[in-house]
Every structure is written in C-alpha cells, then in structure tokens.
Subunit: 317 residues, 4 copies
C-alpha cells in the first residue's frame, strides 16, 4: 500500500475547532497586529537569506496572467491596449504604446498574495477582528499594504512530487505533517523560524500536461496540505506560505469546512499566504544547483484597502 495515495482520516467539526485554537496567534503580537506570522521574519533571517545568493541566478515564481476563460479561470483578467504606435504624440516624437490590465486579485489561475482580511471564520478575521471592517469600499484593517515593504527571506522549497517520484499529486491527495518531515529529510532542509515555505504539489505541471480543470470543491478538487500539517508549520514558526495550488486539499478533509487550510493559516495564524505560484522554472534551477533554499523577494502592489494583490515573487540563488 502506498501511504501517499491514502487520504488521511476525516477531521470532525469539533476537532477542527480545537485545531483552530491550537494554532491561533490571536493576541500574540498585540490586539492591532496586521503582520501575523510575518513578525517571525526578522532582519537576521533576511541577512541569512542574502548569504544564499551565490550563483546570481534568479527566477520568477509567477504564472503568466491569464486572460483566457477556463475551468480554473471563470473570471479571466483583461489586457487591453489603450494606445499603439498609431497615435502621434502631441508636439512631436517619440510615440508611446500603452495598455490596461483589469483583474480580480484572487483566483485559482493567477499568482497572488492574500491580505489577512481576505478570510473570515465564524464571524471573525485574524486577531478576532470583525468582517464588517471590510466594507464595499475595501478593507479598513489588515489590508495588503501590511506587506507593502515586501517580503524578503529564505525560501525553502518542499517538492512533494519529487519526494513521491511522481510528476504531480492528484486532486484530493493530502500532504501530512509526517510527509513534510520526510520531504525535508530527503532534501536536506528544515523549515525554521521566519522561513518562506514554497510548497509544491505539481499543480501546474499537471495543468501544463493535462490542461486546466475545475479545482474547486464544485469540481475535481486539488492536492494540498492536510490540516494536521498546520501545527508543524505553527511550531516551526514559518512566516510565509507559497503553494503552487492554493494550499488546500479539495475536497476538504474537514466536516463542514470546505477550505480549512485558509481558515487555519489566515484566520487563526495570521500567516502570509499566497496562491497559485509556479515552480516549474524554479525546480530546474534547484536540480541544477542541487539546493532547495535560496533568497526570495516578493512584494504586493501598493494597494490601499486591498484584500490581496497579483505579484511576481523572485527566487535568487
């Protein structure tokens, strides 16, 4: 029997609430904290990450912006030209071409980072704040500008398909705490305080080879973390979580909670989380360099009141 292909046991609603309490960081950094686990990422970690820059290679962790509707892109971004070089500039040369981008800031086919106001669980945001603090004009608390000065630190890639010796995990497969530790061991890395965890299920490798699919709980679902992995991330004081899917195992392993990983990571822990990164270029560099740690620098757009942002995180070796 291949344990990796076994979906671990279902978690009851009561067990989940206990788990929520166990990993909660409410109050840990004060009642008005807006940084959550990013508080773990201190200057010494940034220095240590810069010391990982040895070859000067650097690589994008972002998907291309997707303007084509599809099963995982029901709300495609729009990209319009507002001017090509057919329009003279007043008063002479040069001429300028320009364009326009319109996009939702979350969604399964776009690489984005979530603000802590993005998720509420049972009527509370991270730190116990009220969901009504997000109004129809935007977030009045814990918006994406909490991360405005960027995230720089040590990236640690956990390449689960490499560990399992598969191209990708199949929808519904869950990665447990035990497996994370096994991956660490094989790769010779250990998630530590202040780290940026890059969590690879091979989501986009699957997408490239099989085409897009509906990975929501209405569709086929996706591979991701099992909720039992959250105490490990909590104890290790991981600061940032960057998965290639959205981090969730879908369908959910938790009774009555369709997206339990988001509930734990964002609402309970205040973790800086992104969704839908792309690691296919990264893993080539990792293999060539035979290392799975590097400097990562990422920054959201500076969008006041925003609940998230498209972004393009960069790994530097």
């Amino acid at each position: 029997m291949n344990q990796h292909n076994t979906i671990p046991g279902f978690v009851s609603a009561a067990q989940f609430d206990t788990l929520f309490e166990r990993v909660s960081n409410w109050g840990r950094w004060g009642p008005d904290d807006e940084k959550g686990t990013l508080n773990y990422l201190q200057p010494e970690h940034i220095l240590a990450s810069a010391a990982l820059v040895k070859s000067g290679r650097h690589v994008s962790l972002s998907l291309p912006i997707n303007t084509v509707a599809g099963p995982d892109n029901p709300h495609p971004s729009i990209h319009h030209m507002v001017k090509t070089h057919d329009i003279p500039t007043k008063h002479g040369e040069p001429r300028f071409a320009g364009d326009y981008l319109g996009s939702e800031l979350h969604g399964d086919s776009r690489t984005h980072i979530d603000a802590l106001c993005h998720v509420s669980y049972k009527g509370r945001l991270y730190n116990g704040k009220l969901p009504a603090s997000v109004t129809s004009r935007g977030a009045t608390l814990m918006d994406i500008t909490a991360y405005v000065h960027g995230i720089a630190g040590r990236g640690v890639l956990l390449d689960v398909p490499r560990f399992r010796k598969v191209k990708w995990l199949e929808p519904g497969e869950a990665v447990t705490a035990e497996e994370i530790q096994a991956v660490e061991k094989v790769q010779g890395v250990r998630l530590s305080e202040g780290d940026i965890c890059l969590f690879r299920t091979g989501h986009h490798r699957r997408r490239l080879e099989l085409g897009a699919w509906n990975n929501s709980c209405e569709g086929e679902g996706q591979a991701g973390l099992h909720v039992n992995a959250m105490p490990l991330l909590h104890e290790r004081k991981v600061a940032v979580f960057f998965p290639d899917g959205d981090g969730e195992t879908v369908p959910s392993n938790v009774e009555g909670v369709p997206y339990p990983v988001h509930a734990l990571q964002i609402a309970a822990m205040g973790m800086a989380c992104a969704d839908s990164l792309q690691f296919e270029e990264l893993i080539e560099v990792c293999e060539e360099e035979q290392r799975w740690t590097f400097m990562v620098v990422a920054a959201p757009l500076r969008l006041p009141r925003g609940t998230g942002s498209l972004f393009n995180p960069i790994a530097i070796f």
Copy 2:
C-alpha cells in the same frame, strides 16, 4: 548665480539625432535582443548586491495605487470589491473577501516599469524593430515579460535635492552629467556597470507638500535629466533607471522632441526604465544608514504582450 537653477542650453534637432546615434545600443546584443541594458547586469553584480544586505531593513519604492482623478492622474486606477464577508461560501465556512484592480500600466501617478516596446522614435523601436509589432492585441516583441525573472542588483540613489540642499527640484529644472558626477562625489558613490540608478528629484516630496500638478508638457512640467546626461549613463553601462518623476525634464530641452529622455533611454539604449517611483521612505533609511547603495529587487507582473507593468520595487539594506 546658482548654476543648478539654470536650464542648460537648448539642443537642436540635429544635435539630438547625433546624440541618439551616440548612445544607441542597436545591434550590440544581437538583432533580436529584448533585454537591452539589462544585459549589463550579470550574476557577479547580483552577488555584490546581496553582499550589501547588512541590516535587513527593507523599504518599498512604490507610490500607493491612485484611484482618485487629479491633474497628474487623468486615468485613475479602479479598485472594486467583488465580494465582502456578507456572502456565504457554498458548503460552509470560511468566507472570503475579494477585489478587483483595473489600471493603465503607464501614467505619471503610478509606479510602473516600461517594456522596450513602449517607445518608438521616428518609426523605430529599440534595435530598429517596427512599431507595428505592437498590435491592438499587444506587443509581439520586447514585451514586459523580457523582465519576467525580475531585476536584482545594486541600487545607487542619486539624491539631487539633498545635493542642492533643497526640498525638491522645480518643474523644468534639468540635471546634467556634471551635476550627476557632483552628486556622486558628495555621496561617495559611483554609478558602475550593471547598476540600478535611482534618480531622485524630489518629485513626490513636492507633490506631498504642494499637491498634485499637471507635470506633462501641456502643464507645468517637471524636473528630470538633461539629455546631455545620457552619454554618461551609457558609458558607465548603467543597467536600470528608476526615477521619482518620469526622468524627463519637461518642458523638453530638445527642439521638436517633447520626451527626449524616453527616446534616448528606451528607443536608443534599450534601457530598463521605470517611472514615478517613491523615495520618501527610502531616503530616511539612507540617512540613518548613511549609505546610498543597497540591494534592489523588482519584478513586473508576468503579463504576456504587455508594454509595461505596475510594480513595487524593494530596497534591502
């Protein structure tokens, strides 16, 4: 008489065309090069920049995204909520708030980076390519994905108002090659091969204190480079240019060329250029650390066919 407040002599159309040829990099990196001066920024420069990370401080170089129309923002960005926490998630908790950003990707009040296809001069893009390569569906050459893996290197701030002992340069004031060298001397820095030049005129300090103004050639204009500074940047092999205005002296000092700096930097040199950065937070750190060099990491959104991108560059000390 204060030479800094004197607008240097007007440049004739013929002189400008000579200057264009002098600084041109057409063909230097092959006929299909899409990276331009970013070719100067090599791995050793990235390693050297990482070695500048000593305190772990980091700071955004971006303006907030501006959704309010004004004299320098005729096409305001839009930020809409697509969902607040009033909408239940199907099948249970948690709930999610989400939003939408729509924005032109150039413009004086938004921090953005230009693709090389953005500027044509007399019917040619950088490297002699044809402007018709930018179609109504976007750029087929030299789009913003040329920079997709990000820009990481040594940032060198030239703080011209600090040198002049003023809060900001006034619209129309031009910074010459001679003044750049004088600033370097006072700050103890020297622009070198592969550098990211951060060029501060105090544009946004002025804006914060006096309010926005029309800084185009139809309005009051702005302070920026004199075109005679371009051979210096060319000889020094500067890779990247990040100004706080858009780098131009407006009104132009060149006969019949309203935006000559863009013509030289982008169409002739193929320089990686951004517009409208914000250095007011940066200069506080520079003063405290008493240094004007640091690591800079910046990445455009991964927008195929784009002529530019909003971005949030980060300086790391």
Copy 3:
C-alpha cells in the same frame, strides 16, 4: 424682486420627515412591488403617447459617454479597443474591430437611470425594504431589471430656463411647485398620470458654455427641484422623472439631508428617476415643432442585480 432667483425657505428635519410620509407610496402597490410610480404608466398612456408621433423626428436625450476626468467626472468611463482591423480573422476575411466599455452606472456626467435599490433613507429602501438586500454581489431586490421591458410613454418637457428667459439656472437655484405650474401654463402642458417628466434647468447648456464644475455638495452645487415640488408630482401621479442635472437643488434646502430629492423620489415614492440627461438637441425640436409633449422610449441595459444603468432615451415627435 425676481422670485425665481430667490431660494425658498429652508426645510427643517421634522418638516422633511412629514413630507416624506406625505409623498410615500410604501405599500400602495403591495409589499413586494418593484415598479413604484411606473405602475401609473398604463397601456392607455402608451397608446396616447404613440399618437403624439406626427413628424417622425427623433432625438437622443443622452450625453456622450465621458472618458475624461473632470470636476463633475471623478470616475471617468473607460473605452478601450480590444481589436482593430490589424488582426486577421482566423480562416479568412472579413476582419472585425471591437471595443470595451467600463463605467460606473451612476455619476453626474453620465446619463443613467436609477434602480429603486439605489437610495436608502434612514435604514430603509422604498417600500420599507432593508438596505442589506443590496450585497457586495449586487441587489437582490428592486434592481434595474424592474424596468427591463422599457419605459414608453408621454414625455412632457418643463423648460425652466425658457420660462425664466435665461440660458440656465445657476447652482443653488430651486424650482418650486408654484414655478412648475407657471411653466406648465406658459407651455400649455399639464403633467398628468403616467407622464414622463423631463425637467430642464439648463445644466448642460451651462456646462457647454462655462465648462464643467463640481456640482456636488462639496462644490458649487446645482439647480434643481425644491422639495416642496414633490407633493405636486405625487398628486399628479407622474410616473418618471428625467432631469438634466440630477434633479436636486445643491446645496440642499433641507436640514441634515444633503440629497433630499433622491430621498423623496426614490426611497419614499418609488419613482423611476434618471440623472444627467441632455436636452440641448431636444429643445431645438420642441421650438421648431412648438410642442413640449412627445413619445419617449427608454430602456436600461438588462443587468441583473444592477442598481442602475447607462441608457440613451429617445424622444419621438
């Protein structure tokens, strides 16, 4: 003394609440009515309006869509080409050009119609419904599709500047019930049950001649109805109100109520109201035909959950 240039007496908060009750139609057409005063406009009125079609002339009552930011257009509409004829069609000719329109659906510089859900007063929409019925995903009650089959009926133009023998009313000037009756008398018309009242203050004539101004209560304001005119419209059973400004006298004549006409018309009466129509072409036809009644046909876009719509009403003579 010219009574027309006198702003009638201020209305107290208590008087306003009495007025609100007096003109309220809550419950008149049942607890779930979504049509409000449009219930007055019956088939016989439509037949009578068609009988007014005698010359076959027809004219738009709409402003051009305004993509230029200005004092009365802080959120300009956007109009982008998505394709020009530079892009071949797959498999052969012909080619197609296409475009994109993005626009807020209310606002002072765009001709639009309001849904009844658009306005709440003291925690209630028309008919006593709750404002929370408008969620972050749109209106669940009384959206603009209540008018989806269009509005067709008799238009009656009240041309107040013509009556006053001025080009336009100045900001802050209010039109009272008495003046409406005087205008009717001079023009030989009488607002009757089911009518579409076109109310002209010359707002756009002023704009064309003097340029745009900030007509909100933060700026210079605008001419419009005095709240004492509302019982007259109520008693006459006017179905639809189409003004050239937004119908309001700004600044308001009512204590603590910045937009009292909207409160009365939409929240109390359930009146089908539009804003920012354009009558400059219409009045030329009226003068030539020497009549101020005609058929009007108007329809919102069929936008489920919408709170309003851009539209282009047509007068047919």
Copy 4:
C-alpha cells in the same frame, strides 16, 4: 427529403465577390455617408410604426448581461458594486448604492448593435473607407454615434422555427431567400422599405434548453441566413437587421469567408445590424396578439468612437 434541413450549395469565392458587388450600397448615399441602410427608414415609416401601437404591451428584446464565462462567452462582462448601503454619505442621509459594468461591446452572448466600422472586407470598410480609420483610440469614421438618435420603426418578426414547426434551427442550418418568402406568407407579413427585420432561428431557445455551446467557426456553429438571402433584403430595402444569433450560418457556406453575412450586410450594404437578441418573450406576445409587426425602438449608448454598443431594444404593440 426535408429541404429545411438541407444546407444549400456552397458559394465559391468568385460568386461571393459578385454577390458583394450586387448588394453593395457604396456611394448610394454619398461618399461620406455613415448611416447606410438606415437611410431607408424615413419619417413616414416611423409614423406607420407608431400606428401599430394598439395594446400598449412592450417587451425587451435583450438577453441579460452575462457575467459568467462559458462556451459562447469567453470574455464575460463584469459587474461590480462600487458602494453598497454600508457607506454613509457625507453630511447625512440618504445613502446610495452604486455599481460598475465592464463589457466588451460585441460577442455572442450579449445583445449589441454593430457600428459600420466594425467590419472590413479585403481592406475596405463600408463605402470604401479604410480600416486604418479605426485606430487604437477608436473609430474616427462610422462609429456607433451614427445611430445616436435611435432607431424607431416597424419591426417584422420572421419566426423561422415556427414556420418549420421546430423549437429551433440546428447549428449549420441556413435560411434561404425562398424560405424567408415562405415565412412571410405564412405569417402574413412582407418585409418592406425601412423595416426592422427581426430574424429568429430559436438560438436562445436552444441555449435555454440545451445549454450554451461554442457557436463560432471553431465550434459547433449556428443557424443563420444563407448568403443568397441578401439580395432579397437588399431589394426590399430593409433598413435594420436584428437576429437572435448573429445572423450567420456557421460554418460558412462561402469558400474562404468565415463570416460572409457580416461582410455583405455591414461592409457591402452598410446595414444597421445587431447580434444576439432575445425573442423568447416577444414570441409569446406575438402569439397572443396574433401579429408579427409592431413598433421597435432601440438606441445604442452614446459612445463616441465606439464600434458598437450593448443595448436593449423594445418592441411595442
């Protein structure tokens, strides 16, 4: 053999060019005409159409705006709230909810009208104008404001499925000139000068019952006119064409011309054409009233430089 299910003979490229010449109206109304066949619709036709208003019933001919991506909606419209009633108005009550609509102005799942600049055939627009007159900033000729004062006239519904005694025509089925005349006979109508032809294939009945499909030439296609019907419309001097699909038989019956009906109607004839109307409500009224002629009033949004517009045409009985 059922002739209705037979696709009439393929048309060669040479035959098509002859047909193009035969129905061309280039020059008919002068070299700078922007109205095309709308010139046929004269005041007397409007008067006659108003005389058809007998019962006062009126009905929308529009689909709902579709914000959900699907096989016939690759670029869904967006509808965002910009404000709900959670935001207080400055200075007091009432409060206002508002929203935003963003949409392409053509496309198979939205009811829209085409400007004459929308279609070019072999390097020419209607009347021989050049396609480059449509720039990246919009149309400089024959934009949608040519129809700004609206279209009012006699609507004649040709209900082909009713004639064939089927619920809808299947994709690829073509309606010939002969069949149009047979439909006329059965319904007791005759398309005449200045008429607005409503052409029903049952497209949206099929969509409602079977779900959306890809009706482009890349997909299953759709039922529509055979190109041999165009001389009939030409000779009858039909002014306006409003189909429920986009009027085309797809796949095309013409060699090398994927959308021949658009080429003939718009580029050759200058016909006022719309796409993707909805007649399911209309046919109920037609059946109840037992008539297939009525007044139609329709108007595009007043969008300068636009190549088309969403709209909501109204039939009045």
